[in-house]
Subunit: 245 residues, 4 copies
DNA sequence: TATGAATGAGAGTTCATTCAT
DNA sequence: CATGAATGAACTCTCATTCAT
């Protein structure tokens, strides 16, 4: 199922679109793919892939059902286009930040985390991950795409920040991959949660304070990473922590 | 009005045959819920709630569509039954373990985590959370159910373990809820991943070693929790961690 | 679809049943058909033929679904049995009453009407007509049966009462059939109504007072029938007969 | 997910073809509701509400199942639309006729009755009442609807005609509601009958002459209503009419 | 290009009927 | 005789996709 001609065209159009206002006839036509993708993102994040109706997407973008199919040959291709547009640029920037950072590695990690939060975590883009998680199994062609374009780079990014800390003697020599996971997971998990259960109005559920959660998480994990933290540690308790299988 | 043609049944029945002997009917009656729940769990985790067809569940359990409805009045109730059987009991047990535990709070937490891994994390049941995350928005009935029967109790469980550590002077006085989140999230996130992208065969993805991840996570977080760990830590870096960089 | 062997057997049993109390094992078995028919009548009248579930009939009669099918080979046969038992004897008696009545024809008709009300109109049996009306079209074999055993005799009964009035010079010479219809229809209609819309709790519907309706109806129609009424006299005495507005 | 095979449509379509020419699509769009309503009316009256399958309605109107739901969101709404189109308007018109009528009240009632017969009684629409009677118990939503939109207005219509007669001194002072009932019931009952048992081909049933029945009925009841009729009545028969025999 | 009427394969659920026990 | 677990056809309603205009 290669990206169709129509789909590819829309991609090149996107570049030319921009963020202008004037609702010229011409303009609208050029902006169509943009508008459709925006509508689709919002709905996919809200309701998931399967539960999003193409008609609703079209409606939200202000076009008819038929028009949607003029730009994207199927719901699946529409979804792919959304994913591509949403997550592609977001990782390279981070990698660069790591390379050029001057301060302590703890501060670097805190900075990365906060940047991620501002750029992704608190935007609808964060919801994409929920959709992927939820529906790759029913939509296998997306798995490789997402693994290559999103997951691997993100892992490299945080791993390299941890490696930097270790190499500079700031962090203990923990497994890179696992440490990166421990760093990212709570934040990702929180985001996931916010886009699903958190968005439902369930009785007795305290609205989790995202920033507070992040603060505690960083406090906890950075302290666990730092070599100085280990200094005062007396017992081998933590070492045996995972032991009791 | 007249529904079935006689004798058609034997054909479909043979699939399920083979294991039973004497009081067939009765034995089946008792085993059914188990079989249906197993089939349902597998399919729900695989395909999600909405995409799982009741007929497929029935087929997998070796019965007809109608039989499924003899045991569970709706797909939603079937799902709830799956959750109850797999998650609800476990949390109650954990709560008791906390009340009676004698050792250090770090060990307690490690023990809870390991128990969870043995009983849920490495079984198909771990996939349930993925389903919930993916589809609560479209099935509000399930949201409240899951919040009440799983999320709230699980939060109470881990919060109480952390509180125990704080009260006994073992842990720093961190916000209970946030700390519990930091404890649970990486593990949950890992299983989430395993049941979605991890279950697809993507090139170049190292299968994450779950046990290693957990070990590192515990090492990191428990060290971050413990008061002794804080002893040597003197710089303000971690304290300012959450500060806008 | 001739009455099945099982069904016929139940019929002869019915005769032997009676109205006894003692719940002997023996007794219950003999009473089964009776109980099943009672349950079926109640439910058919309530919900109609198609919407009545055989399981509910069985339950109400205190037996299992399978047992019902031991006595009646299908829902259709069960329904026929109910109709037969309920309406068969009810007409002959009326015919005899007409033959032996001594008073005025107006009184005779009023008496017939009241008898019908006591014996049928205010009992569940009246609901049978609703079911027939509602579902003969989907159940054609019942039409002939009902026309022969219920409708024709009832028409003969009232027609003969009108003919008596005309022959004795009490009534005007109206078409028998049409007059009989005018006599019966409002009462039948009322009963029909009571068993359908009247049984629903709709806003703003005044519960129709059955006896009052009948009184007005008789007042109106008998006055219309009588020859003297046509005379053109002046008093208002009878005018107040049904009065009570 | 992919639903249809291309080109399958033409086959089923041919059935509906033949009447159209140029702006086919649009013309159809406008005619559809009419066609669907006609098909629905016929089938509802024939088989009842529950036993009518939506697919059959669609088929009869020459469209697919899905198309029906494009016009009416549910079977119940389809039914309501049928009722509205056939009955609701008529009653309003009748009400106006009462307000503006100049002649005698007897003539007014006869006129109302005849109008009803021409517009409803002798059309398939007359069968609607049968459907309601038969199935309101199982569809409470329809009960309220019919009570509000048909029964109450119809009762008001005939009651007001009777009141007019009383106020003008033409009719005796009978209870309005009961008199209206006596006026409407025989006619309703007759059509009820025609659409159920009357529609079956039973041996030995004289097809009732509807017009003759109506004539006799009017003759009888109007005479019963009029004050002049009461003039000559001297016997106590009518007075004792309601008396328990 | 754009529209939106039309399609039809399913999905969940119900229930008359059967038959092993 | 009696039971009740099991069946599976049928029913309403949904929605991705097509195509005449």
């Amino acid at each position: 199922m290669p990206p169709s001609v129509v789909g590819r065209r829309s991609a090149s159009r996107t570049v030319a679109a921009g963020r202008d206002r004037a609702p010229t006839r011409r303009r609208r036509k050029e902006a169509r793919p943009q508008e459709l993708l925006d509508a689709a993102l919002a709905l996919f994040v809200d309701k998931g892939f399967a539960a999003t109706r193409t008609e609703e997407v079209a409606q939200r973008a202000g076009v008819s059902k038929g028009t949607l199919y003029l730009y994207y040959p199927s719901k699946a291709e529409l979804f792919k286009a959304v994913v591509r547009r949403t997550l592609t640029h977001l990782i390279a920037e981070g990698q660069e930040a790591v390379a050029q950072y001057q301060g302590s590695s703890s501060d670097l990690i805190a900075a990365l985390m906060n940047a991620w939060w501002e750029r992704v975590g608190c935007t609808p883009a964060a919801g994409i991950h929920k959709v992927i998680l939820a529906e790759v199994r029913n939509f296998p062609e997306l798995a490789q795409f997402y693994a290559d374009e999103v997951l691997a780079p993100a892992d490299r990014l945080f791993s390299s920040a941890v490696r930097r800390g270790i190499e500079r003697g700031e962090f203990r020599a923990l497994p890179l991959h696992a440490a990166a996971h421990a760093l990212m997971a709570p934040v990702m998990f929180m985001t996931l949660h916010q886009h699903s259960i958190g968005a439902c109005h369930v009785h007795g559920a305290q609205p989790p304070d995202a920033r507070a959660l992040m603060r505690t998480h960083l406090d906890l994990v950075l302290r666990g990473l730092e070599v100085r933290a280990a200094a005062g540690a007396r017992t081998s308790a933590p070492a045996r922590a995972g032991a009791r299988p």
